[in-house]
Symmetry: C2
Subunit: 558 residues, 2 copies
Amino acid sequence: MSQGSDIEIARRAKLKPITDIAAKIGIPADALVPYGWTKAKVSFDYLDNIQSFSDGNLILVTAISPTPAGEGKTTTTVGLGDGLNRIGKKAIMALREPSLGPCFGMKGGAAGGGYAQVVPMEDINLHFTGDFHAITAANNLLAAMIDNHIYWGNALGIDQRRVAWKRVLDVNDRALRQIVNSLGGVANGYPRESGFDITVASEVMAVFCLAKNLKDLEERLGNIIVAYTRDKKPIRARDLKADGAMTVLLKDALQPNLVQTLENNPVFIHGGPFANIAHGCNSVLATTTALKLADYVVTEAGFGADLGAEKFFDIKCRKAGIAPSVVVIVATVRALKMHGGVAKDNLKAENVEAVIKGCENLKRHIENVNKFGVPAVVAVNKFIADTDAEIAEVQKAAESMGTRAFSCTHWSDGGKGTEALAHHVVKVIDEGKASFKPLYPVEMKLRDKVKTIAQEIYRAADIACDASVETQFKDFEAGGFGHFPVCMAKTQYSFSTDPGKRGAPTGHVVPIRELRLSAGAEFIVVVTGEIMTMPGLPKAPSAEQIRLDAEGKIEGLF
Amino acid sequence: MSQGSDIEIARRAKLKPITDIAAKIGIPADALVPYGWTKAKVSFDYLDNIQSFSDGNLILVTAISPTPAGEGKTTTTVGLGDGLNRIGKKAIMALREPSLGPCFGMKGGAAGGGYAQVVPMEDINLHFTGDFHAITAANNLLAAMIDNHIYWGNALGIDQRRVAWKRVLDVNDRALRQIVNSLGGVANGYPRESGFDITVASEVMAVFCLAKNLKDLEERLGNIIVAYTRDKKPIRARDLKADGAMTVLLKDALQPNLVQTLENNPVFIHGGPFANIAHGCNSVLATTTALKLADYVVTEAGFGADLGAEKFFDIKCRKAGIAPSVVVIVATVRALKMHGGVAKDNLKAENVEAVIKGCENLKRHIENVNKFGVPAVVAVNKFIADTDAEIAEVQKAAESMGTRAFSCTHWSDGGKGTEALAHHVVKVIDEGKASFKPLYPVEMKLRDKVKTIAQEIYRAADIACDASVETQFKDFEAGGFGHFPVCMAKTQYSFSTDPGKRGAPTGHVVPIRELRLSAGAEFIVVVTGEIMTMPGLPKAPSAEQIRLDAEGKIEGLF
């Protein structure tokens, strides 16, 4: 790339003091808790003060079903936010924090790309303001208190075989997936099988992202079920008296983080739950704060719209009492071609037919978003090799669904590259067509919730449950958790549970493997395939290339 | 206490902006990296700029052999620093960062006490500026890269039975002391025994505290020996290409942290190696920075002078090329009585005889300090029950050793309570009597180094080594590590290896259990007893009491 890598572009950026960025959206300097000169948290005191402000408009950025060709959802979120500011609108972006683990595994940061980036990107991709470290600490304090309770006599009668709580680390370390702990004799406790997840997969992370305030955080942490007794009575974090200390460990972290784009527009980056075991959106607190401070808030949800947007609507929006005004679905011509059957190596050649075929995936997502009562707009994240004829087909596909697609060049042009999209998004919002409603009511039976999503969104013929899963459905309802929404864990690569089925498959059956209760986050995770909650490192991890150069700058991170 | 608890006193404090504190010692605002408004790191750029400044005088605060009665070394360090400022001297304190783990175990913070405290004490005792989290991350990335290397084919030929590197967490969790990892089949690697230490016990922490700059840090990290091959060839972090990424994870953390005392005097708090597996002093970078910026720098070393001061002299001062001008030995009448044979429950009653007897311990430490060519002064950290007759005996004991003892009331009076001590310390420094030299030359054989410390400092008759230890001495010398200093791991409660032997025992034998090589920190740990590198939680951990009160303030932490 003649313009340089993401990190080179980011380093050329002229960052403004974070106090200036805050001032743009009316936050006074004394409401900030600075972390360096270009990152800050916004204090709880200030958050209390702005509760009476009216809310701006919420824009969700989601995507077609992902392919190895890449879509650029975060990049488009940043590009659109810059574009809105560029056309004179007061807009804030609300994104997820990247996880440290993958940074040292596969190459690639998570703060946008090209000229649509959030800075300081090295800090954001490394320790940032320490939120994930705080979550790790809170999670592992709870774990230590469980084994400590058993060690000192087990007054609560925890069944060691039924400890559900795992430890976490923000590192890709397959060696920790399954361990036996407490070996070495009497002084070290009672040996049992356990394991580690990556920090972002922790229920503490999900709770953190759904908590409305510190009180709500403590309540939810207390509700977490960490183990069961021999007669299957749940033991909660509250029973171990761990909720208070966990809240103390998280109290600073829960304040939203403010940073800026390369074009000096405000961005909240806060929370980052794993999209395949949790709901995959940034924190409720960051989103609701942004809504108080801007006319337009651009946020994103993990994976494709069938997973990310559905969970954003049915979990986050429902719980937080917020409603999107419009959804932007990101597509690339390359990815559509893959959905149309083209192999990754052949993406450069023009192939209008493949685009037409691949647009079935896009159209399905548009239709799905509309089912939630929200209008959808398409952003084509443009690559140099895309031809006019190909883009025209995407536009036709969008028009066939009653909407429009815009070719966006934010990667190379920044906010200038999304101006047309930004104008249209504002127009759609002004038309006031959105009338958001979740897909299912909370009163619906758990099994029916899953079936509704499978049929309405995944277009499956049915779901298939083993006897054990049917029992879990009944047990959770009997246990008082029937009113929870379901949090689907499914491959992001297909509407079906077969990652190889691109495009817009129908008539498949969704096998339900197991259910997992997140009593603190208040949802039931529905597992439809392998869920990896602790990644491993590749043969040559990017950590091997990451170092400081002679000038003390980081090389190899991106 | 009528004046309130430590946390109540700390909360009443009027903190100044950290930019004001920095300005007092000539650090401009743009040389700071703020963490909130009352904590900051000092940037590397600025550290480069001040290298030409001349050094101030270094004052080490150490203590008699600790007893359950407590001595108050950190409190006295803070009190003396405030006292020096109060009498018009430019003084900075340099302390260790507290570990998060113990905060949630046994009650008690680690930022001084009473009116001799460092603030913001809640932040300092919790995540502070994230240094320990960065150390945890760097340590565990290296661990993941070891198992990942084995997983992908083990090109370096690591013997899985000889992996020396452990993972760490900053939590008291006995269940992690001994584990078997990589269970669960092919995808998770090769099962092997391993375990976790607490973060402060990591060699990364020791390296962090001894590194002179980022380059030195990377070099030392690369030197760490993580495993051996089947034919016992060492494998270093550098062989795994982990040193660069570890340095990147630590680059922000390595900048010293600036905070303030209750009297608004500057304090560096940076690094906190476990005193029983490492050298137990704050970072070289913080100490050398403080020396450039003040006329007097007050620092402390872990445990009693036989352990902490010896390691401070023979490891830290030697490696950093710094030399103390005077040593302050902290004693309490209560602790001296315990050394004189009084039980903990009887400490309130006057017992002049016991004080006289207990002063043998104090006198031994004075004599030992003088062996390093440095004058010693005694600070009596005064408790209300101490009688004039008792304190007079301590003063007599000090005078019998050619020095003086000062009764100090900094706990209740702040810097005013150490004025006399401060004046005397300045006088001793002005007399210029210090002529620091380490106890042994680096060229001395490893075994002789240990014997020299045992005989000169512990007053042992000899050391006793098993054949296996004798072999280790030879192997380490053959391996090229003979020039390393030794880092003694011994009970802090006695000059001997029997914690029950208070006072000033002589003629004992010091059994050497094993040696451990810290090739990155550049010392050989000499183990003379049980070393606990991962604490456990007590039956009722203080975590159970820690929570936010109705106003959002932390209760139960101290």
